[in-house]
């Protein structure tokens, strides 16, 4: 049996995901309210808007209160000298192996919310695939990026 990777991503990732989800869902709520007002003015059947509201309430519960924690729990990664090992996925668990010599470049990225929590995401690109580690502490992300790019060497005879 293969062991799962050892390292977890930053705990603040949960907060970031919650805030991001809250923003998206907030926009949806605003939309529903706006449409609801229109429906009220023009006297359209109300059950449509009610269904939308119920669906969005379920969304709110799932995406803000349930999924971020589960997602964090499942997210693990480990960097070896010769490869990167990633595990993620709530319902479908995916474990990915990316050899260092296949890595073409590494990017770190930071949005406004992530910046507030001093987090950054790391994207590892091979010639054919892309793998994202979604939330690490800024320094960890920078170290990881530099570490991987120094370990990543492209063999001459391949791609």
């Amino acid at each position: 049996m293969r062991e799962p990777p050892k390292n977890r991503i930053a705990l603040d990732a949960i907060k970031v995901w919650k805030i991001t989800a809250a923003i998206y869902i907030g926009v949806l709520w605003l939309l529903i309210i706006a449409v609801g007002v229109l429906f009220y003015i023009f006297d359209f059947p109300f059950w449509i808007i009610l269904t939308a509201a119920i669906l969005n309430a379920i969304n709110t519960y799932l995406f803000i209160f349930v999924i971020p924690e589960l997602r964090w729990k499942k997210w693990k990664y480990e960097i070896f000298e010769q490869e990167i090992y990633i595990q993620h996925g709530i319902l479908i668990t995916t474990r990915t192996l990316v050899p260092m010599i296949r890595v073409q470049h590494v990017d770190t990225e930071q949005g406004p919310i992530m910046k507030k929590f001093k987090l950054a995401s790391v994207t590892i690109s091979t010639a054919a695939t892309k793998h994202v580690i979604p939330a690490l502490h800024e320094e960890d992300a920078a170290n990881l990026r530099d570490g991987i790019s120094s370990l990543a060497r492209v063999e001459e005879d391949d791609v």
Binding site: M1, F80, Y85, G89, R95, T96, A127, A128
Partner: protein
């Protein structure tokens, strides 16, 4: 050193046609809109547009020059904004010569130059130069000499050459994809359609009209299918006419085509995976198509997903072919060494193959209860397909080589070296976890820089882990 040269003036025609293509839609729309009231304006407008396009075509031809300077191809182009592109010899991956019908009339060729970059277009393309000039450019940059006159005669030296015989070519056409469409229609369609259409339609008001036209429709249908089949044969013939593959040093050369003559170069180093494809129609006859995944090539844009190494081969000939053309590649699976999907994975395969059909079917049954007699055989076909997919899914490890076999509609067996695999993935959903099953995914670099993914679903977790261990570089993880 050489002087800056322009393309052959025929390039103006190509530019013109290309420019016109972008406008054809608007031309048709405005023709429809203006046809009655102001046809005169339409004609004037059209003439003005043609003039403008022609001017641009002419200017872009006039402003495009290329020259070869010390192992570098230098191009300068652009009507208003001048662009220069220099490509050096050791960055060039392959040079392809393509001759369309117009090219052949003037004895010209299009030269496409590929570098390692992952764009969809050729890095540089010279739309029309004299064939001799095109070959000179290719030879200068690739250092190979192929005499086009000698193509038809057997090669003097010992380089392995494989050509398609006309009988095989015909066979390839007759069993091409279009034959599959017919088979689907004939196999499941006709026997059943006759049963339920008349009953359903005869009691309606327009029964006799439909009754009459039904015979007509069926006849028409048969003719149509026959027509599709003939088209398939013609299409294959035109595409693979005189298909010849030659190995020279570390490159493969492919020449093919009746109307559009193509000469393709494949550097062997760039081959990521080699596989055979057994379509449903060809499999019973023991014929396969041999293909390769070549990194970063834009050959056959929009035609094939992979580069065809040979359009049709007997399965028993594959080994001999590969030994000669691509030593080190072997796509044959050893039954005793290959790892199959365990029995408990079968249900997933059956459900996946039939789920959409069952959902659609249930919907239809509510509307047309009688249709069930038509649906059941179709369902059986889908279940059969699921079973075949289950039977065919397998992998095999041979030291540093991995062979994966799977079936969508046609069965594909593909071989890839350890070092060509870009990433490895193992997937499990909740049900898989309970049953100790896992799906594996192997990513390889495909054409146009996009990844190509090979999957084997519902393997025994243990076997999936075995593959992960084989792939993993880290000893600590084993």
């Amino acid at each position: 050193m050489s002087k800056a040269k322009r393309l052959h003036p025929a390039a103006i025609v190509f530019n013109f046609v290309q420019g016109l293509k972008g406008w054809i839609f608007y031309i048709i729309i405005s023709f429809v809109a203006l046809r009655d009231s102001s046809i005169l304006y339409f004609i004037l407008g059209l003439l003005a547009l043609l003039l403008i396009i022609f001017t641009f075509s002419f200017l872009s031809w006039y402003r495009f020059t290329y020259r070869i300077v010390a192992d570098e191809l230098r191009m300068e182009y652009g009507i208003l904004i001048r662009k220069k592109r220099y490509i050096s010899k050791n960055r060039i991956q392959s040079i392809d010569l393509t001759q369309g019908v117009i090219h052949r009339i003037f004895n010209l060729t299009k030269v496409q130059i590929e570098t390692a970059s992952s764009g969809t277009d050729a890095e540089a393309s010279l739309k029309a130069v004299k064939l001799a000039e095109g070959e000179r450019i290719r030879d200068q940059f690739k250092g190979h000499v192929i005499d086009p006159e000698q193509e038809d005669q057997p090669e003097v030296d010992s380089d392995p050459v494989f050509s398609i015989s006309s009988r095989r070519l015909w066979l390839a056409g007759a069993t091409s994809g279009s034959a599959g469409i017919i088979l689907a229609f004939v196999g499941v369609g006709f026997s059943e359609i006759e049963q339920f259409i008349p009953e359903h339609f005869y009691d309606s008001m327009t029964a006799w009209i439909i009754g009459l036209s039904l015979i007509f429709i069926i006849t028409l249908g048969i003719f149509l299918l026959f027509f599709i089949w003939i088209l398939g044969i013609l299409g294959t013939m035109i595409k693979y006419w005189k298909f010849t593959i030659t190995k020279k040093d570390d490159e493969l050369f492919i020449t093919r085509g009746l109307l559009e003559k193509k000469q393709i170069t494949i550097p062997i180093k760039r081959i990521q995976a080699v596989g055979i494809n057994e379509s449903v129609i060809r499999q019973p006859f023991g014929f396969v198509t041999l293909f390769a995944e070549v990194a970063g090539s834009s050959l056959d844009k929009g035609e094939d997903f992979s580069t065809v190494l040979f359009p049709i081969l007997r399965k028993t000939e594959v080994k001999q072919f590969l030994d000669a053309i691509l030593p080190g590649y072997d796509v044959e699976m050893d039954q005793s060494k290959s790892i199959l999907v365990p029995k408990r994975g079968l249900k997933y395969y059956l459900i996946r193959a039939s789920l959409i059909f069952v959902l659609l079917g249930i919907g239809t049954i509510f509307l047309l209860p009688k249709i069930i007699w038509f649906l059941i055989p179709v369902l059986l076909v889908f279940l059969g397909l699921g079973y075949l997919r289950f039977k065919n899914a397998a992998y095999q490890i041979d030291e540093n080589r991995l062979i994966i076999q799977y079936r969508n509609l046609s069965k594909t067996t593909v071989m890839v070296y350890h070092k060509r695999i870009q990433a490895f993935e193992e997937k499990q959903h909740k049900l898989h976890q309970k049953e100790n099953l896992a799906t594996i995914k192997v990513s390889v670099l495909g054409k146009m820089g996009a990844g190509k993914v090979y999957k084997v679903k519902e393997l025994d977790k243990e076997n999936a882990d075995k593959l992960a261990d084989w792939y993993s570089y880290s000893v600590s993880n084993k």
